[in-house]
């Protein structure tokens, strides 16, 4: 190897950085490097690390190569470790006290994005009658009892909150509004889905007829089985959102929420409250009143 001339070339350039190195390392004298592979001229090197710099060369992928003392290596490693702080930040999820608030923040972030993604006029594709699941393959899903034994003859819907015409309304009054029938997909948070045939009153028609404040933020609903929900107004005004009183051309049966339920192809099943008794237009959601499952940890938006 033609060591000597190159080493001589290196010397002036090494002497310069070694002055600052001497501050750190005191007694050490400037020395040429022993590693014969590290003897290329150093012109191309960056001046950011003068003390650590010994020689520059490239690996097969253009990696920067240096020959450094163990003290310099320790300093570089400490500095590089500091840059890894974002990883430690994720470790906050392992702290029991912080875990729940952080997960709630994450859920809120996803809900925020969901609301931003929602297209007020974007329709769920509807399905042909041949794609609709047979009625006996449409699951009965409930949190407590399949039939809360609603007295259908005396049932009324109580309307409260920011509406011009609050009061109690019977099913005939709701059915007097134009009927909409649609084949849409019902998606459960568990992961299953089923295409069904639903008939009812368009929610936006009913809310307009009741003189509801359509600029209000939420609709709260209460159910005969003590289930409760709250829905954003944008979803309530979506053209496919129904107050549903029919399935498969028949009056809603008890297990599916007789006499009236919400049916929203843009929401997960747990938002689609059954056995409705009260609806309330409001701008405020009280904590602990956001929804039966939401208050236990499901995301509030629940949108599809």
């Amino acid at each position: 190897m033609a060591d000597e001339p190159q080493r001589a070339d290196d010397l002036p350039q090494q002497a310069q950085p070694k002055e600052s190195a001497a501050e750190l390392q005191g007694e050490e004298a400037p020395k040429p490097l022993e590693d014969s592979s590290a003897n290329l001229p150093a012109e191309g090197s960056k001046p950011e690390e003068p003390a650590a710099f010994a020689a520059a060369r490239s690996g097969p992928a253009g990696e920067e190569i240096r020959s450094i003392t163990s003290r310099e290596r320790g300093r570089i490693n400490r500095r590089e470790l500091l840059k890894m702080v974002p990883i430690i930040a994720v470790g906050a999820f392992a702290i029991p006290k912080l875990q729940e608030p952080l997960l709630m923040d994450g859920l809120a972030l996803s809900d925020w994005a969901s609301a931003r993604l929602f297209g007020r006029r974007r329709l769920e594709p509807t399905y042909s009658n041949s794609e609709v699941a047979p009625f006996d393959r449409f699951p009965y899903n409930y949190y407590d009892v399949v039939d809360p034994e609603v007295d259908l003859a005396r049932w009324t819907l109580t309307v409260e909150g920011l509406v011009k015409r609050p009061g109690n309304y019977n099913l005939q009054q709701i059915q007097a509004l134009p009927q909409v029938v649609q084949n849409t997909r019902h998606v459960c948070v568990e992961g299953w889905d089923v295409v069904g045939n639903f008939g009812g009153t368009r929610a936006s028609d009913l809310l307009r007829w009741l003189g509801a404040d359509l600029t209000a933020r939420y609709l709260e609903v209460e159910c005969a089985d003590e289930y409760y929900e709250s829905i954003d107004m944008a979803t309530m005004l979506h053209p496919q959102t129904l107050f549903c009183y029919e399935m498969y051309g028949q009056p809603l049966d008890r297990g599916h929420g007789a006499p009236l339920r919400l049916q929203m192809p843009t929401k997960l099943g747990y938002k689609q409250a059954k056995y409705l008794t009260t609806v309330r237009v409001t701008n405020v959601l009280k904590s602990g009143k956001r929804g039966y499952w939401e208050d236990q940890g499901y995301d509030w938006y629940g949108g599809l």
Partner: protein, 229 residues
């Protein structure tokens, strides 16, 4: 002469050869992604437990019920919280990595291309059947490129199929492209299997290549890089 040389030898500081292998963006993205993949797989299995099938609800035919011990979240709602939180870290770190690779031009070292196909078998034979080690000419050998490129593919498939499961109506066109809501669950599960296949192989390789190699993914600098031996 000999005395002088030996004097110099004792006074000389010990030097270590190090190579800068992984820029900090890549390192941070790698570890954030590693944590996110772990959380998303374990919480995802908990979510799958709620309906461990790819068919209809009625009649339900279970595909595989993940045992609770390998799941995270405790119940469906808890698992969804982890899933919907760490998806941001997963996508964020994934984009950080991909954008950096494209901007820096380093993607050329990692992306598996058709010309790499012929090099896969010799490398696999070397690793698994004790064959002769093919000469190393590039930063990553063809088998590595295949593995790393696959993870980007699995990441993209799991994100897109997840988006379809999360928002099938808003992304109705993507739902259609992936063959519908139910098929999206199949792609999502298969992408997860891809990660599960990658991880043990990756960890074994890390173990085989020793501490210096592992440490380079933390500090960026690899001590005594193998290509200088």
């Amino acid at each position: 002469m000999a005395t002088t040389a030996s004097l110099i030898e004792t006074a000389k500081p010990q030097t270590i050869t190090v190579a800068y292998e992984h820029p900090w963006i890549v390192r941070v993205a790698h570890w954030l992604n590693a944590v996110a993949v772990f959380v998303l797989i374990t919480s995802g299995l908990r979510i799958f437990r709620a309906f461990p099938s790819f068919g209809p609800k009625i009649p339900q035919q279970n595909f595989w019920v993940p045992p609770p011990g390998i799941t995270l979240g405790g119940w469906l709602g808890g698992a969804l919280q982890w899933h919907f939180t760490f998806i941001w870290i997963f996508v964020g770190s994934g984009l950080m990595y991909v954008i950096y690779q494209v901007a820096s031009g380093h993607w050329r070292q990692v992306l598996f291309m058709p010309r790499d196909i012929k090099g896969v078998w010799p490398m696999a034979r070397h690793y698994f059947l004790f064959g002769k080690k093919p000469p190393v000419e590039a930063a990553y050998n063809p088998l590595q490129k295949l593995a790393y490129t696959s993870t980007i593919f699995f990441g993209a498939v799991s994100f897109l199929s997840g988006l379809v499961m999360y928002k099938p109506v808003q992304f109705w066109w993507l739902t259609w492209m992936l063959g519908g809501f139910r098929l999206a669950r199949v792609w999502h599960f298969m992408a997860m299997c891809g990660f599960v296949a990658f991880i043990p192989g990756h960890l074994i390789m890390v173990l085989l290549h020793g501490w210096n190699n592992f440490y380079s993914m933390i500090t960026g600098w690899k001590r005594d890089p193998e290509y200088l031996e």
